[in-house]
Amino acid sequence: MNTEGNAELAGLPHWLYPAGFWVGVALLAVGVLLPNLAAIGVIWIAAVPVLAALWVALAGWRLDRRLSIAALLALGGLVLVFIVKQFI
């Protein structure tokens, strides 16, 4: 990984996505076998990128303020969608 790559990734936990992947496989498999629990797996795989952005926004605040603000902007976009969807 180059230096710029490291700077771009400051604060983003490397384990989060691999862990999110395997937990997602397990929860979705449970959801396929027990359809009443299907929503849990779907919510989980949607939660992983949101958790990652939240982590970066909080953990990166001191390490890399620009990255942290960028992650907050992304989360702000999702909050906006969440508010607008209430009116659908």
């Binding site: 771009e8 996505y17 902007l73 976009g77 659908i88």
Partner: protein
């Protein structure tokens, strides 16, 4: 029927890993044409809604791999994702209100464009460049397409990141995959609010895509990509014509 849904997800995951084109481009038409054989009719908007969860799975699987390789430009991705998220919400809302025939027509055009790109190869730039002022509107457009058609980013977002934002091609692909997760979350929220998201079917597609993406990464070196590209391009053209026939043939 659930086994067929998982198989569609598997196919999308495998093709996505090998060709970089497998999310909604596979899931939406496959659900449209396969499910009626199991006695389940599905509108193209319902298929697009389910495909958003497939895109989430592609994003999760791809980001896990690309982050390990150090290819993701997280800051660039987070800075651009508000545009794709807002664009995605607009596209998803259009998906809720536009007639199925209009969505199917745009989707058929996308399939033809994807086939053309597969056969010709995308124009790509390997070196870092200054970003263009057109990046924000272009990313918003990429978001609209992802929301309206249930596609990830390979078709629209990667060329924008590479040719307009000046991100080298491998990092553009990785960053696009990273962004598509957040965009798909917003899109799925809108389709769920519109009552079009079948969560049980979405779980089957999500599982198939996650497993398929892993299988595809292992199969990548064993499958001749050139022949697969040609076969898949012809399949895309055939599917596009079928889709147009389904929605316009009886007009």
């Amino acid at each position: 029927m659930m086994l067929a849904v998982i198989a569609v997800g598997l196919l999308a995951g495998v093709l996505g890993a090998i060709l970089g084109l497998g999310g909604g481009v596979v899931v939406v038409p496959a659900l449209e044409f396969v499910l009626p054989h199991f006695g389940r009719e599905i509108t193209i908007q319902q298929a697009v809604a389910v495909s958003q969860i497939g895109v989430l799975a592609v994003g999760l699987s791809g980001a896990a791999s690309y982050l390990q390789q150090g290819l993701v430009r997280a800051r660039t991705g987070y800075l651009l994702s508000p545009y794709t998220i807002v664009g995605g919400a607009v596209g998803s809302f259009l998906g809720l209100i536009l007639p199925a025939r209009a969505v199917a027509t745009v989707f058929a055009l996308l399939l033809l464009y994807s086939a053309y790109n597969l056969l010709r190869g995308l124009k790509r730039v390997e070196v870092e460049r200054e970003p263009s002022r057109l990046v924000p509107p272009a990313m918003t457009f990429a978001g609209i397409m992802s929301g309206l058609l249930g596609i990830g980013g390979g078709t629209v977002q990667v060329p924008v990141l590479n040719l307009l934002a000046g991100v080298p091609i491998r990092q553009a692909i990785a960053t696009s995959t990273f962004i598509m997760g957040l965009t798909a979350v917003g899109n799925a929220l809108v389709y769920q609010a519109g009552g079009l998201l079948d969560v049980k079917m979405a779980a089957g597609i999500g599982l198939g895509v996650l497993v398929g993406a892993r299988m595809g990464a292992r199969l990548q070196s064993r499958i001749p990509a050139a022949q697969l590209k040609l076969f898949f391009s012809l399949l895309l053209i055939f599917t596009s014509l079928n889709l147009l026939w389904k929605y316009w043939g009886h007009a």
